[in-house]
């Protein structure tokens, strides 16, 4: 069997068995092929030595422990589950609203940051400040926007995974054959997770540094720590 054939078959067998985190499993076997091929083995040889996709996939199934449950059903169980899902739905809606808030904040801060850096002002909404200060403050606001952006992405992924896991849990409670439970925390690809973390760290650093710097610049150019009084920011 060729490498691609083997991997495709393994993947479909794993899906059939409802193994969790299939991409992670596939990564190991892809690497196995890569290492073996670097050692000069042919694709057919490697595949033969691995064992058939079916037997391998079956071992993963038992590896995560597919619990065969006794009986599902019972009026009170269903009633309880029904109430649980009402509360869950409320939580999901609230959480979705929260995520919308995060997304809106991201959008708002991005706009404000761009306006400050680009020296635009719409209907005199942004009070007076020297351009040097606005530039640095804009950079810090962009950092803040990125923090909210990453949070929004993370929360959305969290909500998605929570709904998936909860659906699986409900199914397992009522059906006779139990599928392995799904993890509740967000499942990012390793690469995406690394990117998100890097972006977040840079954003926090950018926000912190530029915010302090812009405060200093403004205080110096206004000649007072309370520069907002000096420029009458909050007086209409």
């Amino acid at each position: 069997m060729k490498k691609n054939e083997y991997l495709a078959e393994l993947k479909s067998e794993l899906k059939k068995n409802n193994a969790s985190d299939i991409d992670d499993i596939m990564l190991e076997y892809e690497q196995h092929f890569a290492f073996k091929m670097a050692d000069g083995y042919s694709e057919e040889e490697i595949a033969a030595k691995l064992g058939t996709p079916k037997t391998i996939a079956a071992q993963f199934d038992s590896a995560i422990g597919v619990g065969k449950k006794q009986t599902g059903g019972g009026f009170f169980l269903k009633l309880g589950l029904g109430f649980t899902s009402i509360f869950e739905a409320m939580f999901y809606i609230l959480f979705l609203a929260w995520d919308a808030v995060l997304a809106a904040a991201t959008l708002a801060f991005t706009t404000l940051g761009v306006f400050l850096i680009g020296d635009f002002n719409f209907e005199e909404l942004i009070p007076y400040m020297p351009y040097r200060g606005a530039l640095v403050l804009g950079a810090s606001i962009i950092g803040l926007a990125a923090i909210f952006g990453v949070s929004a992405v993370y929360c959305f992924e969290f909500l998605k995974q929570a709904i998936k896991a909860s659906v699986r849990w409900h199914k397992n409670m009522t059906s006779k054959s139990a599928l392995p439970p799904l993890p509740w925390n967000p499942q990012f690809e390793p690469k995406t997770r690394r990117t998100l973390r890097t972006v977040l760290l840079c954003a926090v650093a950018l926000f912190g540094a530029c915010f302090v710097l812009s405060f200093i610049i403004m205080a110096l150019s206004a000649g007072t720590m309370g520069f907002w009084h000096h420029w009458n920011w909050f007086v209409s």
Binding site: I25, L27, E28, Y29, Q31, H32, A34, F35, I46, K49, L50, G51, T55, I56, Q59, F60, S62, A63, I64, G65, P190
Partner: protein
């Protein structure tokens, strides 16, 4: 030999390999399949089970000129489990060995 039976012992072998050193999946698979008669692919399900039992954790490490490798390392729970299981296994193996040898001596 029965695969199901081997699997428990293989878990112990994997833990012993990780006792002093972090290793990546392929390294473990190669080492074991050279010494014990198992299909190359059997080691990965074992690694995964150890991970879901909380005995090992994984981390990715970028290597020069290659894809990132997934390394496995023992958790505190893994270390203590290994120590107790190792003792139990050695005791068990000693008993089994002496029983089997007795049996052979009788036949001769």
């Amino acid at each position: 030999m029965n695969t199901q039976y081997k699997k428990g012992v293989l878990e112990l072998c994997v833990l012993s390999m990780l006792k002093n050193e972090n290793r990546y999946g392929y390294e473990i698979s190669e080492y074991l399949s050279k010494r014990i008669d198992i299909a190359d692919g059997t080691v990965y399900p074992i690694l995964r089970k150890l991970k879901s039992d909380g005995l090992v954790t994984t981390f990715l490490s970028e290597e020069s000129g290659g894809p990132p490798r997934k390394y496995y390392c023992l958790t505190e729970l893994g270390k203590s489990t290994y120590d107790t299981d190792r003792g139990e296994y050695l005791e068990f193996a000693k008993t089994v060995e002496s029983m089997l040898k007795e049996n052979k001596d009788e036949k001769e």
